[in-house]
């Protein structure tokens, strides 16, 4: 796809991973994440293997490692929760760096942290190698209900329009001397939010009229793209396949 501008999570490239059809990557991603989640938390070596697999994939997809690691920040709320666990959980105590913590809590925190990080990294690789349109085509090929795909498609299309509108409203507020400080600013912010909602709602109606004007009858035309071959599926399923082997090792050993 020759789009010059792509979404912010996308890294332009022509690697094997970029070229795979989105539906294959999506199935591989979900398969990998489920396998990681199903791995026993004490199979520490297994998680090491997953990490090695993912970094090999990042290398293969020619994504700068720094870019991928920076994006991991989205899991920060999960990290905060995980870090709290050893301090609040019950059970036998143990000492880490001279601080008494709960042993099951520590294990639970490790479990959450390891699985979340691996899942997020895998999702980042998917986002960095898949364009929005291909993602929609992938969903269509996977027989996701058309209504859900339409909702995703419209969200993707209008997110920037609404963000711009929000930005213009903020500039207009501040140009009239408004400084968002403290509780007293809340009513003004809430009203801006309400106005934005109304504008978006009205835009939704106009978009619907424009769709009707061009003969829309409830079903979106199927987006066309190269369909996946057996080789594509084999390539894509290599990652979850290897992960399943690692997980089996974790269960059996």
């Amino acid at each position: 796809m020759g789009a010059v501008h792509a979404h912010r999570l996308y890294v332009h490239g022509h690697s094997v991973v970029h070229r795979l059809p989105a539906e294959c990557k999506l199935v591989a991603l979900v398969g990998f994440v489920f396998t990681v989640v199903a791995t026993p938390r004490t199979a520490f070596a297994g998680f090491g293997c997953y990490a090695v697999l993912l970094f090999a994939l990042i290398k293969l997809a020619q994504i700068p490692a720094g870019f991928a690691l920076r994006r991991v920040v989205v899991e920060a709320p999960v990290v905060v929760f995980a870090v709290l666990l050893p301090f609040v959980a019950h059970g036998p105590q143990t000492e880490v760096l001279g601080v008494g913590v709960s042993e099951p809590g520590l294990l639970a925190a490790w479990n959450i942290l390891a699985k979340a990080t691996l899942g997020v990294l895998a999702a980042i690789v998917f986002a960095a190698t898949t364009e929005q349109r291909d993602f929609l085509v992938g969903l269509q090929r996977l027989r996701v209900p058309s209504l859900l795909i339409q909702i995703v498609a419209f969200m993707v299309r209008y997110l920037d329009v609404i963000t711009d509108q929000l930005g213009r409203m903020r500039v207009a507020r501040e140009s009239r001397g408004f400084t968002p400080k403290g509780v007293r600013a809340w009513p003004a912010l809430a009203k801006s939010g309400g106005a934005l909602f109304l504008r978006s709602y009205e835009r939704g109606e106009r978009v619907h009229l424009a769709m009707l004007s061009r003969g829309y009858n409830g079903t979106m035309p199927v987006l066309s793209a190269r369909s996946a071959s057996l080789t594509d599926w084999t390539c894509a399923l290599l990652l979850p396949g290897l992960a399943v082997l690692v997980a089996l090792g974790g269960w059996l050993l």
């Binding site: 929005q132 419209f154 299309r157 978009v207 424009a210 769709m211 003969g215 829309y216 009858n217």
Partner: protein, 263 residues
């Protein structure tokens, strides 16, 4: 006249559900190849009139016919193929992930598939000079480019008549000129709803003035725009420094163009 008008409105009246009456009995006939401007101040009912043409809004009274076909619920798909409506805000019109998909949306709804669909999309994009942008997402285009793509999205449906709602709004002078050149190059009947009088004069030989829901004047654009009293009565004004000399009073065709005044 034996020719069937492309658009025929007979006594079209319409009130919004909230009771506000927008149109009070509009009669209008537009023939093949004509370019007609509907002029009027804000709130005159221009956009409501445009929405009647493809059955988005159904008249409370009166009849709308497109190529002799009455606009009714069972003729809607055919009517919407024949009437290409270009909305004022291109962001309302362009909603698909890429320009190509958006232009394909209309013809795909009409049942075109495969190579035929691709040809249709390529022709429409070429007609507005946007072929090289086919794979771009619409929100990464300039405003003028988005408006041109919006025109392409309806051209792809091979309409009998192109209806444009305020085509020149928010365009810089260069985009405005480019759009005018494109519109002039199209071999299609055109109806343009606007209060941009010089643009109407530039593109349309015939104009009607709509005010308070009725048509109050219908004639050659240059003649209407030369009638200062008529314009003033209906809250229409030429921009500062412009005047139009009616060809009826002066037999000099050059004087039909707006004359820059002495500033």
């Amino acid at each position: 006249m034996s020719r069937t008008p492309v658009v025929e409105l007979e006594g079209v009246a319409y009130a919004y559900p909230d009771g506000h009456q927008a149109l009070f009995g509009v009669d209008l006939r537009i023939f093949r190849g004509e370019r007609v401007a509907v002029l009027g101040p804000n709130g005159a009912g221009k956009t409501t009139l445009a929405l009647h043409l493809n059955g988005i809004v159904m008249p409370g009274a009166g009849v709308v016919r497109i190529d002799g076909l009455p606009v009714e619920s069972h003729t809607l798909l055919e009517v919407r193929r024949r009437v290409g409506l270009v909305f004022q805000d291109p962001d309302d019109q362009l909603f698909m992930p890429t320009v190509r998909d958006d232009v394909a949306f209309g013809p795909a709804n009409l049942g075109l598939r495969g190579e035929e669909l691709e040809m249709c999309v390529a022709d429409a994009l070429a007609a507005v000079g946007m072929s090289e942008y086919a794979d771009r997402p619409p929100h990464h285009l300039s405003f003028g480019q988005r408006r041109r793509v919006a025109v392409a999205t309806v051209l792809a449906m091979r309409p009998s008549i192109l209806v444009l709602d305020e085509p020149s709004s928010n365009l810089d002078p260069a985009s405005r000129r480019e759009l005018a050149e494109i519109l002039r190059s199209l071999d299609v009947t055109l109806l343009m709803v606007t209060h941009d009088l010089p643009y109407a004069l530039e593109l349309c030989e015939r104009a009607v003035i709509l005010d308070e829901g009725t048509i109050v004047a219908d004639g050659p654009t240059a003649e209407l725009l030369a009638d200062a009293d008529l314009l003033a009565k209906h809250r229409l004004e030429l921009p500062y420094g412009f005047s139009v000399v009616s060809p009826a009073r002066h037999e000099n065709p050059a004087s039909r163009h707006p004359q820059p005044g002495s500033l």
